[in-house]
């Protein structure tokens, strides 16, 4: 299925008249036939000109989350880079209000009475409460670490906030403004949804549960019972990661929960990229349990792919069902495309596929032809999507364009594009960021940089079988991109002296299996990657002082004698290889006894320890699921530092210190 690019020029303020629309469609159709653009070359039109000048990232808006007023007249948009929330009049398509909130707003929710907005601020670990009419900030609510998705309950009494970095969910009493409960989620919970009947809050977790790396990933949909405010079910969604937004089809359309995902084949050698079907992208379709019979086994999970056989729609992000239940729209944030799902056809497919063959759906690249009825080219890096209350329009936030695409669902075309007012000049860093999220540089569009580094630079927590002379060997854990400036060389074998080498021809040849990036693009990309900062570390006290346990752990980290007074060889001291002068890495390769018979080398690049608390699993092959494992299971000969003389309490202290880095 071809992607339909019928986007008017940026700044188009309202849907065109029907005649003009038909004429435009005809023109585009003729052009499409004549030019036959491939999907890969179908770049969205966008505001702005390239610029080499420095423009702070905070100048860009980066719309990432939206909500609509009940009457559909006002569109509220959280813009993560500018720390702004905007209100757009959907009739005039103009920004009519704006308010500054906390650091990096990533989620937005409206109270049931429509009078209050709640905005999660990922970098300031709080939620801003805003008067939805006047746009005045009322108060700031403290929550957990890295809040993203949020929703109120049906009565507007309790706010549920997914704390992405804390792996938990804060429950805030909206009368007092205090968090009164914190529930553990899965791994990196990002987005949440209140069920249509209000009885459940669903939480999608971005990463799979931490588990042995030689098994396919299993992600979790966390289900909270809103009456008891407890976790009612932890539903396994097998074989996938990167579940993001959630929508619930109306009961008349089957009542499925739809959650975008990525389905990696990371246990196969990466060379298979060039054969396709290596990274696939789709939807989990989950039938919720009846309220009276909760528990994970009462949730039926099916998976379908949104990709086509020779074209992939990378990095599913937003999903929205139209209120009439006819359509579900899914953004492919790496392909700049919205897939339009006919929910009746999807339901037909799911209901007519015998249970024994359901698993096939998760792997069949021809499934989408049964239920995807259209692909619409939108702006760069589409994230959130919403449907209007009358099911006539859909709104798509284009993060890298600072625009919102308006889809006329009756004509199934882009009706207009709302310019939110971001800078027209595109900085080098911004260009790099656009590249980072764009999968068109990969063979068949299977992946972008962001595919394996979701959440803007994170490690996906998976081990990958990268290129090697011996296929299947040298399986290595993915590594974070946060705070890596100054930590070269790169790769676990330390062969790439800089990011230009890492992201240039090597990426094209061994990962993307395509033409890759031009030298200018590589520079842009490196500029962006170097800008990625570690999130605030909640393990540090507010005054920066270490707790007693952390201070004891620090003393262990910097010790040069064993517990019985023997001198520790300089090469076996923690701080030698993990030098605090350079992000806690010596930037050399060391053999710490962790190589297995599947590895062709024994010395590995010493990883930086900054941000180590967020980087499960550990060691080059991801065998150590927890920090403890590094020393309790994988350091039998004291080659990874002298640790055999430490008792359990001392090991705990050491870990408490490491978590502060």
């Amino acid at each position: 299925m071809k992607v339909r690019s019928a986007s008017p020029a940026i700044g188009g303020s309202r849907p065109r008249n029907p005649v003009a629309g038909i004429a435009a469609f005809a023109l585009v159709a003729v052009m499409a036939i004549l030019v036959r653009p491939s999907v890969a070359s179908a770049a969205p039109q966008a505001a702005g000109t390239d610029s080499g000048s420095y423009i702070p990232r905070s100048q860009y808006l980066s719309p990432v989350a939206m909500t609509l007023s009940a009457d559909g007249r006002r569109l509220y948009i959280a813009c993560e880079d500018s720390d702004l929330v905007l209100a757009v009049d959907t009739r005039t398509q103009k920004v009519e209000r704006r308010v500054r909130v906390g650091k990096m707003p990533r989620g937005i929710a409206l109270s049931p009475d429509g009078k209050t907005l709640y905005v999660s601020n990922e970098d300031s670990n709080d939620v801003t409460e805003i008067d939805a009419e006047t746009f005045q900030v009322r108060r700031t609510l403290a929550v957990g670490w890295g809040p993203v998705g949020l929703t109120t309950d049906r009565d507007g009494n309790v706010l549920y906030v997914a704390n992405t970095l804390g792996d938990d969910i804060s429950l805030v009493d909206l009368k007092s403004g205090r968090e009164f409960k914190r529930l553990e989620a899965g791994h990196y919970p990002e987005y949440v949804a209140l069920s249509r009947d209000g009885s459940r809050v669903y939480v999608a977790n971005l990463l799979a549960r931490v588990a042995p790396v030689d098994r396919p990933p299993v992600s979790e949909l966390t289900v909270i019972d809103t009456s008891r405010q407890i976790v009612a079910a932890r539903v396994d969604v097998p074989g996938v990661i990167q579940m993001r937004h959630i929508t619930e089809l109306p009961a008349s359309a089957g009542g499925y929960l739809l959650v975008p995902f990525m389905r990696p084949k990371n246990l196969n050698p990466l060379v298979q990229i060039q054969q396709g079907w290596y990274l696939t992208h789709g939807l989990a379709a989950i039938r919720p349990a009846a309220a009276a019979s909760d528990g994970p086994k009462n949730y039926r999970v099916a998976e379908v792919l949104l990709d086509d056989i020779d074209r992939y729609y990378a990095d599913g992000f937003g999903v929205a069902a139209t209120p009439d239940g006819r359509w579900a729209l899914v953004t492919a944030s790496g392909a700049n495309v919205v897939s339009v799902v006919d929910s009746a056809k999807l339901r037909h497919l799911l209901q007519n596929t015998p249970p024994a063959r359901q698993q096939e759906l998760a792997n069949r690249l021809d499934s989408a032809s049964h239920f995807v009825v259209d692909r619409l080219l939108v702006g760069r890096n589409p994230t959130d999507v919403l449907a209007s209350p009358d099911s006539r329009f859909a709104y798509i936030a284009n993060r890298m364009d600072d625009t919102v695409s308006v889809v006329d669902l009756g004509r199934m075309r882009i009706a207009s594009t709302i310019d939110l007012g971001g800078p027209k000049e595109i900085s080098r860093q911004r260009r790099g960021e656009r590249l980072f999220f764009n999968a068109s540089h990969c063979h068949q569009g299977q992946m972008a940089c962001a595919t394996c580094h979701p959440h803007e630079g994170l490690s996906d927590g998976l081990a990958w079988s990268l290129e090697t002379p011996q296929l299947g060997r040298d399986v290595v854990e993915n590594r974070t991109l946060f705070g890596i400036d100054g930590t070269s060389p790169f790769k676990w074998n330390g062969k790439n002296p800089n990011l230009e080498t890492q992201d240039g021809p090597r990426t094209a040849m061994y990962i993307f299996r395509s033409q890759g990036f031009s030298p200018k693009q590589v520079n842009d990309l490196v500029t962006y990657i170097d800008s990625l900062q570690l999130p605030r570390n909640p393990h540090l006290t507010s005054n920066g002082h270490l707790t007693d346990a952390q201070a004891r752990g620090r003393a262990i980290f910097f010790r040069d004698r064993t517990a019985d007074g023997r001198l520790i060889s300089p090469l076996n001291r923690c701080y030698t290889c993990h030098s605090p002068l350079t992000h806690y890495t010596s930037r050399v390769s060391m053999d710490v006894g962790t190589a297995t018979h599947y590895d062709t080398i024994h010395a590995f690049d010493v990883p930086q320890l900054t941000g180590v608390a967020t980087r499960q699993p550990y060691l080059h092959n991801g065998e150590a699921l927890e920090l403890e494992d590094i020393w309790t299971m994988f350091n039998p000969e004291d080659k990874h530092g002298i640790t055999s003389d430490l008792n359990k309490a001392q090991l705990n202290d050491l870990i408490e210190f490491l978590k502060t880095l």
Binding site: G144, G166, D168, K181, R182, L183, E184, T222, V223, R228, I230, V231, A232, A233, R234, G295, P296, K297, P538, H539, A549, L625, E626, E628, D629, T632, M633, K648, A649, L651, N652, I655, E656, K659
Partner: protein
């Protein structure tokens, strides 16, 4: 006239009914009800065989820890026996605590600590977490903290930050690290330490205080009511109603209300045995799980009632020890699954009792028992 006479007659009937009700009530008060209806869950009806080490009530749910897994009962029916195949950390389940805030169930096993939440287990072991030891005897929830009693000391897990702390002889007044039980009070947390007496941890000020046997004698009690009766403490129970903690030992029972100690032995109380596996107290009730039956003690009336199968015949018997030391024995048509009692919990007025041979559910019934001739 007829109407007045009828009204008078009606009033007489009302008076008569009222007096009858009052008399019945007084009679009932004079004849306190006993736990005479026992339903037993044993290998005979599909329950895991052998010892039930612990039992915890959570609403209409009952969690029972056995040597062969964790049993979940709902409304008196066995719903599921969880084993290591289901993800449980170990087969022998020694303790269960339900976090009333989050609904999470924490399970102490001899293979580590498990958390059951949303139908899934997550495990914490000595190798993979900050857990001091995989032999976990006790678990208790205090707000966002989980306290864990192990053979290598006490752990505290901050469930919000994932930070583990270990308390043992190196940083707290543990004479022995082997800790059996935990009881969370409003101001302090109490720990039963095998060979180390009772330890309390002040929640606000973060200090530890030991309570030990003043004479230090293993078998003798030299200083009665001057301290803990023995240092081998099997469990501890804080009673918020009486502001008293109770400690069961293998050599008697002790209580401390902040000023006075009281010790109880078989020779001068209604305790059927000085070997006590667990104690639990609420209101005016103190329940001692002994190796020779389950005893209820009322400190206000100084009366003891012991439930058990007759040691010889296996028939149900209820032993009553009055304040003057006089004893009375009455028969019960049903009784506990075994006289070796390991643990109990309350479900309203009902009891759930862990025994050496199954789980017992006791219901208090109006007296319908016959006296056994002595």
């Amino acid at each position: 006239m007829e109407r007045a006479s009828a009204a008078s007659h009606g009033r007489k009937i009302l008076w008569a009914v009222g007096i009858l009700i009052l008399a019945t009530g007084m009679a009932a008060a004079q004849n306190p009800s006993f736990y005479t209806k026992w339903t037993n869950y044993t290998s005979a009806n599909g329950f895991p065989p052998g010892e039930v080490y612990c039992v915890t009530v959570d609403g209409n749910r009952v969690w029972a820890g056995t040597g062969h897994g964790l049993v979940l009962l709902e409304n008196g029916r066995v719903q599921k026996v969880f084993t290591t195949k289901d993800g449980l950390a170990g087969s022998a389940v020694m303790s269960v605590a339900v976090d009333q805030l989050t609904g999470d169930v924490w399970i102490g096993t001899f293979g580590g600590l498990s958390r059951y939440s949303g139908g899934q287990f997550k495990n914490y072991t000595n190798l993979t977490s900050g857990l001091a030891n995989d032999l976990v005897y006790g678990v208790a929830v205090q707000g966002q903290y989980l306290w864990v009693a192990t053979t290598a000391g006490v752990n505290r897990l901050d469930t919000h930050t994932g930070s583990w702390s270990i308390f043992n002889e190196s940083n707290a007044p543990f004479e022995e690290p082997w800790t059996y039980g935990i009881s969370v009070g409003a101001e302090k947390i109490y720990f039963a330490v095998w060979g180390g007496g009772v330890l309390s941890y002040d929640r606000a000020n973060h200090y530890w205080k030991p309570y030990t046997d003043p004479d230090g004698e293993m078998e003798l009690v030299l200083y009665r009511n001057q301290g803990l009766i023995h240092n081998i403490v099997s469990s501890v129970s804080w009673n918020p109603d009486t502001k008293t903690f109770w400690a069961s030992t293998y050599f008697g029972l002790s209580s401390y209300d902040g000023r006075n100690w009281h010790n109880y032995l078989t020779k001068d109380s209604g305790l059927p045995s000085n070997f006590i596996n667990a104690v639990k107290s609420r209101g005016n009730q103190v329940w001692a799980c002994t190796q020779k039956g389950l005893s209820e003690f009322n400190p206000t009336t100084n009366t003891w009632v012991t439930y058990r199968p007759d040691l010889k015949t296996g028939r149900g018997e209820i032993l009553i020890t009055r304040p003057d030391g006089s004893k009375r024995q009455i028969a019960s048509s049903s009784t506990l699954a075994h006289n070796y009692i390991l643990n109990l919990d309350f479900q309203g007025d009902d009891l759930w009792v862990a025994t050496a041979n199954g789980l017992s559910h006791g219901t208090r019934q109006p007296r319908k028992v016959a006296a056994i001739p002595r």
